[in-house]
């Protein structure tokens, strides 16, 4: 008797979408993909993600965190599909009517919409350089991995031709637009991949939690996806992702997961110091090694780690000091941390702290870590907000629309973002470190 699939694909999908292959994922179980998708997954440009760890040097703090961008990208494709299918099952007609207005999607509309959503999920990180975000500032000259991902997807020197031939004409451009900023009609597809409730965050919170061995990032994502729906904004005609009232508390757990993973993992003080070392190490190297997209794409964590280990052993090598600290785990210690409740003005006071302690302790080297952006937890508009900057996320109860920010007490109380900032000192003696920490706090309070 022939084996029957346990999964019923949406009726609008044709044979070419048949999930002929599957791979076992540590978080989502089986992830299935078509022949054409397999060709993308097997392309060296995508395969390189097997050699780029998701969390760079976080494994020095959480030894299990050696997972890669490869498995995360497959996970985002899977999550994006589950969200898309849920939304399509609720308001597929509205979605089809809107997407149809885009010429490349006038035929097989829903199948094509689902396909670009899957591809955007799969390829959203394809432009990541080695060591993910930690080296991005230096290696990609402030360009960011997103720009390079868009280029890899939409440029004929990379994947554009293959995508357009194997899927449908114009597919590469539409896929890239979901990452870069789509036509207003396709905004909801972009939000599925990266928005307030999205495939990217859902996957990395769950996956990073799993591999780090922490529970902070877990939440009931199945229930959350089950409660998603689509709302058509009467004024703009734009389709928005919305949530049913029943899913409000699941959304709150997602927000808490994001908050806790940020404080406990992503902005862990030791992780931050090793990121600083990586940045300083790459800054010390000959920059002509990374001055083109092809050179950046040729790098991966494995190759860079070999160089890093060589540099750690050779006192004359560029970046030796930082490589030595990373390889031999000789790190600065934290002597001051911003209170996460404080606003951006606290950064000015931190500047005074730094200036003063550098004068008072001239023999000690200090490093500061003040990330460019506040850490965003959510962007939902709440009634208590002073400024009119938040996103009005639709909450649906019956046929009535209200706003998630109006109804959730937790969102109202939880700040939408928080600041992180550290001062590190090269001091191993605990007593001296404690005395410097005390002094820093004193200066900060009087600043």
């Amino acid at each position: 008797m022939p084996e029957t699939s346990q999964f019923r694909l949406p009726d609008y999908l044709g044979d070419s979408h048949e999930p002929a292959h599957r791979v076992r994922c540590a978080v989502h179980g089986f992830i299935r993909y078509s022949n054409a998708e397999r060709k993308i997954i097997d392309n060296p440009l995508f395969r390189r993600l097997r050699y780029i760890r998701q969390l760079a040097l976080t494994e020095l703090i959480y030894p299990g965190a050696t997972h890669t961008r490869f498995e995360h990208s497959l996970g985002v494709m899977e999550m994006a599909t589950r969200i898309f299918d849920r939304l399509a099952s609720r308001r597929g007609g509205d979605m089809e009517e809107t997407f149809k207005t885009i010429p490349e999607m006038s035929e097989n509309t829903m199948a094509r919409a689902r396909q670009i959503c899957r591809l955007a999920g799969l390829l959203h990180d394809v432009g990541h350089c080695c060591f993910s975000h930690a080296a991005e500032k230096v290696l990609q000259n402030d360009e960011g991995h997103e720009q390079l991902s868009v280029r890899v997807i939409s440029h004929e020197a990379y994947l554009q031709k293959q995508i357009d031939e194997d899927f449908f004409p114009g597919c590469a451009k539409l896929t890239a637009s979901l990452i870069e900023g789509p036509a207003p009609q396709l905004q909801i597809l972009s939000d599925i991949v990266s928005g307030q409730i999205d495939a990217d965050r859902t996957d990395y919170l769950l996956r990073d939690s799993h591999h780090c061995g922490v529970d902070y990032g877990r939440f009931d994502y199945r229930r959350l996806i089950e409660c998603l729906t689509v709302w058509r904004d009467e004024d703009t005609g734009i389709l928005e992702m919305a949530i049913n009232r029943d899913g409000m508390h699941n959304f709150e757990s997602l927000i808490l997961a994001r908050y806790q993973m940020n404080t406990q993992v992503y902005y862990h003080r030791l992780r931050r110091i090793y990121d600083l070392y990586l940045e300083n190490y790459f800054k010390a190297l000959d920059q002509s090694q990374f001055d083109t997209a092809d050179k950046v794409l040729a790098l991966n964590d494995f190759r860079a780690t070999v160089d890093l280990m060589d540099a750690a052993q050779n006192a004359d090598a560029p970046g030796h000091e930082w490589a030595d600290r990373i390889v031999n785990r000789k790190h600065h210690r934290n002597v001051f941390a911003l209170d996460e409740r404080e606003g951006s003005l606290a950064l000015k006071k931190t500047a005074t702290v730094l200036k003063t302690i550098r004068t008072e302790y001239p023999d000690i080297t200090f490093l500061e870590d003040l990330p460019t952006k506040a850490v965003s937890i959510h962007k939902i508009a709440c009634p208590t907000d002073q400024k009119d900057d938040g996103i009005d996320f639709p909450l649906i109860e019956g046929e009535k629309r209200s706003s998630l920010g109006e109804r959730s007490q937790l969102l109202e109380k939880l700040p939408g973002e928080f600041r992180v900032g550290y001062v590190f000192a090269d001091v191993s003696d605990r007593t001296q470190r404690e005395s410097i920490a005390l002094r820093c706090r004193e200066i900060y309070q009087n600043a």
């Binding site: 010429p103 207003p184 009609q185 004024d235 005609g237 950064l347 000015k348 965003s376 400024k387 900057d389």
Partner: protein
């Protein structure tokens, strides 16, 4: 003075928009809505800022812009002269020249575009900026549907769906023609 925080080129370009707007129109009130719309048009004209705009209460809006403004304030590159928490009035502050020097190359490349946007729109009140930015957004919607035009009727229909009767037909036609003359949209 020196900079305390790390910055990206967007920060320099954003501060340059504020500086140019204040220089072009010294007495004007430069609030959050106005900055959003000026940055929207600067980006439409290919100044490489990576802000993603979506439609909001007062036209196209990007939630990264307020965060960037706060960051610039923290480093005394811009300041908010308003004494009322609900409104802002941004102006360049003491550290602006330091950032300007750091990103001199990027600023020089985009100086003319920023200047021309600010010259044309810097003195407009937030309502007019909302109108023209939403018109442009409506044009993008209609253009994404394909074809070779004409675009005017469809764009105005889309605009009216979004803004209902907030603006009169005369106002809409007048600003549509102006945007066509400025080559920001097509007929």
């Amino acid at each position: 003075m020196s900079l305390l925080l790390e910055h990206q080129w967007e920060h320099a370009l954003l501060a340059a928009v504020i500086e140019a707007a204040k220089r072009e129109c010294p007495g004007c009130y430069l609030g959050r809505t106005a900055i959003q719309k000026l940055v929207y048009f600067v980006q439409v004209l290919d100044v490489p800022m990576r802000y993603k705009f979506r439609i909001h209460h007062y036209g196209p809006f990007c939630d990264e812009v307020p965060s960037a403004l706060e960051w610039l304030q923290a480093d005394s590159i811009v300041e908010d002269l308003s004494e009322n928490d609900r409104y802002s009035n941004y102006a360049p502050a003491e550290n602006w020249p330091v950032l300007q020097e750091k990103y001199a190359k990027e600023l020089e490349l985009n100086k003319e575009t920023i200047q021309s946007v600010v010259k044309a729109m810097g003195g407009m009140d937030p309502n007019t900026l909302e109108l023209i930015a939403t018109l442009h957004y409506s044009f993008r919607w209609v253009q994404a549907c394909g074809g070779n035009g004409p675009w005017q009727n469809a764009t105005i229909t889309k605009f009216k769906e979004i803004k209902k009767d907030k603006f009169s037909d005369d106002e809409i036609s007048h600003w549509y023609d102006d945007l066509v003359a400025a080559e920001l949209i097509e007929n």
